[in-house]
């Protein structure tokens, strides 16, 4: 039987009333839990896994997939409306989503996020249906040297995102990696950067840093700016208009493609692909000067990449049994609990079950759109809640969220410390994105480099000898040169413009 006919067969099972109900329930619960800071898709699935134990295997997996997609979308709701990215993959959404909410356009931003997520999710599932066996075998060619090179490319992209502030970006990025190295060293078994302080031995948790840099710092800024509400203007239409849709379509397509193909690679998480797609769309856009100030494309691209990566991750998971991200690792555990062992034989041995799950992903994505679009107006009204009420709610929700990740009060203190740091960094115009991204990538970067050195016997030439790795390194070098050229050109033009303006003023005077 061909993939298509098997998929249709899967649909006939997935469209059973109970399965539909489970998909809807999963999406709703996932969205709600995803909204809570500190609880991303990984913890959502882990927490709700026992809840699914009473269900049949197919229903349980359908519900878990719904929770996964729902939690991914839920994270973007708070990122857009409150400027709180509950997880790293929502950080790029926050860059433009929050300014849009401040301008009273939170509704359209949420609508675009839902539509882009849906479109990219469907694209990802199509890719899963059509190319799973081929792409899975190609993904295996992606070893540590290729991983290191692609991470290097992402780091260069980060520098580009900060505009002309290269030295500041470098300091922030290097600091991010240093912070990520705190804890036990993988090779020597010795603690690094702990200075004998026991609390540091477990390292910093990413959620605490995100909560500090974004939520706490944002509330501090709100207080010092005497903010009445996130958006004081008229909310206007809560749904995206034709212009928004037209502007977002290419961005969502680009984000979807980047998210899907990068998402196939083990270790390439949604955080990496959402940053990559944001930067790619920013570079391609004619309206790049609006990015960071409320460009709707800046919401569509990372959201699409986020969801496409989630779908693409199922390819190595189903075909090879390799979870490419932490939530998928928990999902893998779920699959195994229900007697499903992913691997090359899965499609042959449990074909009906697998195709039902794939069909339910289509349904889950559609449910996400159907259930969330009517709620957009309700969510958008959150931005009108007086800041004197919303501020304490954000703070206490963030604090409890930071605590629940590891049930550790030290993480809360870390969040507060990063809140102070975030406030002053923003005040003095230092970019925080390089710090966040480098903190996420640091351990992966070091691990892939050390593994490459083990393979090559300590020779750096391994990065040049492998085609894919070389291509990524060349792309990184070209991108770096291009960024430097653009900054130089812009600064030169600025000087010329200022000079002309001054000379006109002087002449008139």
């Amino acid at each position: 039987m061909s993939s298509l006919s098997m998929l249709l067969d899967g649909f006939s099972h997935a469209l059973a009333p109970m399965n539909l109900l489970m998909a809807a329930l999963g999406v709703l619960v996932g969205t709600f839990v995803g909204v809570l800071p500190g609880l991303g898709p990984t913890s959502s699935i882990a927490i709700l896994l026992p809840v699914t134990a009473v269900l049949e295997p197919t229903q349980a997996i359908i519900m878990l997939a719904g929770i996964y997609y729902g939690a991914m979308y839920g994270g973007s709701t708070t990122a857009i409306l409150l400027g709180i990215p509950g997880e790293a993959s929502s950080v790029p959404t926050c860059i433009d989503g929050y300014p849009l909410a401040q301008q009273g356009r939170g509704g359209p931003a949420l609508g675009i996020a839902a539509i882009a997520s849906f479109a990219a999710g469907v694209l990802g599932v199509f890719g899963l249906v059509l190319f799973a066996p081929v792409l899975a075998s190609q993904a295996l060619r992606f070893g540590p040297p290729e991983m290191f090179s692609v991470l290097l490319l992402t780091l260069v992209i980060t520098m580009g995102m900060a505009g002309g502030r290269f030295v500041k970006s470098a300091i922030m990025g290097l600091t991010g990696i240093v912070l990520s190295l705190i804890g036990l060293g993988a090779n020597s078994g010795l603690y690094r950067f702990t200075f004998g302080w026991e609390a540091l031995e477990g390292g910093f948790d990413m959620v605490s840093i995100l909560i500090g840099l974004f939520s706490i710092a944002e509330v501090m800024r709100g207080i010092s700016e005497k903010k009445e509400a996130i958006s004081t203007g008229n909310i206007g239409s809560v749904y995206p208009g034709r212009e928004d849709l037209l502007r977002s379509a290419p961005a969502a397509a680009a984000g979807g493609v980047i998210g899907f193909f990068m998402g196939l690679l083990p270790g390439c998480s949604a955080a990496v692909t959402s940053f990559m797609s944001y930067d790619a769309v920013k570079r391609m856009s004619r309206r790049r000067h609006l990015f960071g100030k409320g460009a709707i494309e800046g919401v569509a691209a990372p959201e699409a990449a986020n969801n496409a990566t989630s779908s693409a991750g199922f390819i190595p998971l189903f075909a090879l049994g390799i979870p490419s991200s932490p939530p998928l690792a928990v999902l893998l555990a779920g699959l195994m609990i229900y007697g499903l062992t992913p691997g090359p034989m899965l499609f042959e041995q449990k074909g009906s079950f697998v195709w039902t799950v794939i069909a339910s992903m289509f349904i889950g994505n559609a449910m996400l759109l159907v259930l969330n679009l009517p709620l957009v107006g309700l969510w958008a009204r959150l931005t009108r809640v007086p800041f004197r009420i919303l501020g304490p709610v954000i703070l206490l929700l963030s604090i409890v969220g930071a605590y629940t990740v590891r049930n550790n009060l030290f993480d809360v203190q870390v969040a507060v410390a990063f809140g102070i740091a975030g406030y002053f960094l923003h005040k003095h115009d230092w970019p925080v994105m390089p710090l966040v991204l480098c903190f996420i990538l640091g351990p992966m970067l070091e691990q892939s480099f050390q593994q490459s050195m083990s393979i090559s016997g300590g020779s750096l030439s391994i990065f040049m000898q492998r085609g894919l790795s070389l291509a990524f390194i060349l792309a990184a070098a070209l991108l770096l040169l291009f960024s430097l050229y653009m900054v130089r050109r812009t600064k030169k033009r600025m000087r010329e413009e200022r000079g002309e303006a001054l000379s006109i003023v002087n002449t008139e005077a």
Binding site: L181, H289, L395, H428, K491
Partner: protein, 186 residues
């Protein structure tokens, strides 16, 4: 002048962190597998990078005037438009000019209060600690009436407890005082 001083301070901090990182490199180097293999390598590279960037910032701090357009990575055409706006009296990108707001004592009081909360909750446990912190936060952020602050805080504490502890079964701090109270009651 302000920007120069801030950049110099940041440069000094980066240099300081770089030295710390290099110290870790020195400490971990004896455990190395090879020159490029081992836990020492990244602290070494990062330390050198931070120290070099710090020295650069100390020697060449940013100009007091902010080059906003270049920061945003703007195209020359967009820069020209921005310059037009500036010459017309409008301030381009004024919404993103972060350094315009003044340091407020209230803003600094927030992290202080949150830190106090993390110490308080160890003793009192989640319900009492959160209730007290909530009341103070509502007052600090502009709720004028004490009873309303208490009511808001009570509702928020209960809602968070319901979601995290009851529904998601996340353990919240019980507090040493409540444990002591249970012992006494027993």
């Amino acid at each position: 002048m302000m920007k120069t001083a801030v950049d110099r301070s940041a440069g000094a901090i980066a240099l300081f962190m770089g030295c710390f990182s290099l110290r870790e490199f020195y400490r971990l180097y004896p455990q190395h597998v090879s020159l490029l293999g081992g836990d020492h390598l990244f602290p070494g590279i990062l330390g050198a990078g931070l120290a070099a960037s710090g020295i650069w910032l100390l020697l060449f701090p940013g100009k007091p005037h902010r080059d906003g357009a270049a920061d945003a990575g703007m195209e020359p055409e967009a820069v020209a438009q921005a310059s037009d706006k500036c010459s017309n009296g409008a301030s381009a990108g004024s919404s993103t000019t972060a350094a315009t707001y003044s340091l407020d004592l209230k803003a600094i009081a927030i992290p202080a209060l949150l830190l106090l909360y993390t110490f308080l909750i160890r003793w009192t446990g989640y319900p009492a600690g959160t209730l007290v912190a909530g009341v103070l936060l509502f007052r600090l952020m502009g709720t004028r009436s004490w009873p309303l602050s208490v009511l808001n805080s009570l509702l928020l504490t209960a809602a968070l407890y319901l979601v995290f502890a009851q529904w998601l079964h996340t353990p919240l701090p019980a507090g040493q005082l409540s444990a002591l109270w249970r012992e006494v009651a027993r």
